[in-house]
């Protein structure tokens, strides 16, 4: 069990007020709040050892380089990578996936080939593949989503001899669904395809072991797991990363530069052109330290409890429809719903007036919205610092919203 009361004290933002009410932050799937440890690490870097890394021979540069590379080693342990050189820092999940589309994708995909995705992809694991497919004359295939919010298993047969890449979200940012990545990776490998996992929602919320997942690449973002914005991770199998061309050219990623050609540095620096986001990478270490201190198993347990309570208490409201799996063991704690005829935007605005931050919209998953037959949904997503009382406040806020818009309330206000 997490000591939520103690955890909350580490997050200064949780004591602020919004519209005169205590903040209830339920938009964690978009980005999480940061503990003092991370904020302090960030300012500590700028105050004490700010310098460019990998180039200076002076003390500051050496300290900075060491701290930066320390984070890389911790990330490798955090996801059980085979080696530290398999961890590449990017800006975010989106850039990690684009890196793959532009390097691996361009190298492997040809006219008539197929790329298999699912109907529940975030735009960042869809649009890069559309760009690649259009450039190459390849086709995108989509594993469908059933009415329970799970992948349609018979569609796994879409992975076939023409498939070059399978790229799938591990945990849906809308439905919360946890997808059977290992099984899909085995299918992909049997077909000679590469398996990519969008781990933007899974890495923050459950233990990750890329060896057990059996995938070839795994992408995620620091800002969704207590870390700063501007840092993403791409993990890839060493042999694959080695056979890929660089993504961007410039400083840091080269070894010998001639007038006409150059040679590349070894992994992982081959994929990190230019001065990286040193400060934020170093502060990300503090976020991972924080998560490891609690244990990712305990984080997952807390979220199962939150998801269960939220689904029970929200589900008790008349006319409220929750999308995604009902079994909290099979899903994460991002819970998308619609409430009667109320439009998500209106719900979001009224809740905000109660200090409750939720997301209202298509959640960067327009094809999934179409599948659900919705234009938009409300989404409440929970993390380590959320409490059962906050779920009750959400339910009360929704009741209030319903009263506000109901026809009976008309005339109660005189304007």
């Amino acid at each position: 069990m997490l000591d939520v009361g103690r955890i909350r004290q580490d997050f200064p933002i949780l004591s602020r007020q919004v519209h005169g009410k205590p903040l209830i932050y339920l938009d964690n799937a978009a980005t999480t709040q940061k503990p003092n440890q991370v904020i302090d690490a960030l300012t500590h870097y700028y105050r004490h050892f700010n310098a460019n890394i990998h180039r200076g021979i002076h003390q500051l540069s050496e300290e900075g380089t060491e701290a930066y590379e320390n984070t890389r080693a911790r990330v490798a342990r955090f996801i059980n990578a085979y080696g530290t050189e398999e961890i590449i820092f990017t800006r975010n999940t989106t850039e990690s996936i684009n890196l793959l589309a532009y390097t691996l994708g361009r190298q492997r995909v040809e006219r008539g080939d197929e790329i298999v995705l699912t109907q529940m992809e975030h735009h960042s694991n869809l649009v890069p593949w559309q760009i690649l497919a259009q450039e190459k004359g390849a086709t995108l295939k989509f594993i469908r989503v059933d009415d329970e919010g799970e992948l349609v298993r018979e569609d796994f047969d879409l992975i076939g001899p023409r498939t070059k890449i399978v790229s799938i979200v591990h945990m849906s940012n809308v439905l919360g669904t946890i997808n059977p990545v290992t099984e899909l990776a085995q299918r992909a490998h049997a077909a000679g395809a590469v398996m990519i996992v969008d781990g933007a929602q899974s890495a923050p919320h459950m233990p990750i072991d890329v060896r057990a997942l059996d995938c070839d690449f795994f992408a995620f973002s620091a800002h969704k797991m207590l870390g700063p914005t501007g840092v993403g991770v791409l993990w890839g199998r060493r042999a694959m990363l080695e056979s890929m061309p660089p993504f961007m050219g410039g400083g840091e990623m080269i070894s010998l530069v001639g007038e006409q050609t150059s040679t590349w540095k070894e992994l992982p620096w081959k994929f990190e052109a230019g001065t990286p986001n040193i400060a934020d990478v170093i502060a990300f270490d503090a976020a991972l330290d924080y998560l490891e201190g609690m244990g990712m198993g305990a984080v997952r347990e807390h979220e199962i409890a939150m998801a269960q309570a939220a689904m029970e208490r929200l589900g008790a409201l008349d006319g409220l429809v929750i999308y995604g799996p009902k079994d909290p063991q099979r899903r994460g704690a991002a819970i998308a719903f619609n409430y009667g005829e109320l439009h998500p935007h209106d719900v979001g605005t009224v809740l905000d007036r109660h200090g409750i931050a939720v997301r209202a919209g298509h959640h960067c998953a327009q094809p999934l919205m179409r599948r659900l037959g919705q234009v938009a949904t409300v989404r409440a997503s929970f993390y380590i610092y959320n409490t059962l009382e906050e779920i009750d406040a959400l339910v009360e806020g929704l009741r209030e919203t319903e009263r506000f818009f109901s026809a009976e309330a008309a005339g109660a206000r005189t304007k």
């Binding site: 439009h343 209106d346 605005t349 806020g397 209030e400 506000f404 818009f405």
Partner: protein, 158 residues
């Protein structure tokens, strides 16, 4: 939690909720001459407008469709009532006035019946300005496409 929230009541004025619950001119036009659709990329809301002009070149009929929040639906409903009977040049003037009201906080049109004015509170909710603007942008698009395909219909009085 208290129900008394002045700013919220100001955003959702009773007139707005009335248009939301009982939208005017919602549906399809039998013999539409011009139409346009617009999307609010933030939330995926869609508004469709259809227009038919009279022999005098004024907007004789106008209807809207699509799904959206109370603000975008009410704004579209009010728009249809507001521009019916107006020339394109007059309607463009209304669009400019409405946009100024939303983004610069300027006053509503003088001859407004009070409906448009009720949307003034939206300007204080930046996240919702796009909702209110959506149908007005669609009208602009419908008119410029319509004017391009039927130049004789535009009174050209810009």
């Amino acid at each position: 939690m208290s129900t008394q929230d002045v700013e919220l009541d100001d955003l959702y004025r009773e007139i707005i909720l009335d248009h939301y619950r009982k939208p005017r001119n919602k549906g399809r036009l039998e013999h539409a001459e011009m139409s346009a659709e617009g999307l609010n990329p933030v939330c995926g809301d869609e508004i469709r407008l259809e227009l038919r002009l009279g022999l005098d070149g004024r907007i004789a009929e106008i209807a809207f469709g699509g799904r959206g929040c109370s603000i975008s639906q009410a704004s579209a409903s009010m728009l249809t009532e507001d521009v019916k009977g107006k020339t394109f040049a007059e309607a463009r003037g209304r669009i400019d006035q409405f946009r100024a009201m939303m983004t610069e906080g300027s006053a509503p049109p003088q001859d407004d019946s009070g409906d448009i004015e009720s949307l003034q509170g939206v300007a204080k909710f930046p996240a919702r300005v796009k909702c209110a603007m959506l149908s007005w942008n669609v009208l602009q698009q419908a008119m410029s496409e319509g004017a391009a395909s039927a130049p004789g219909k535009d009174d050209g009085n810009e």
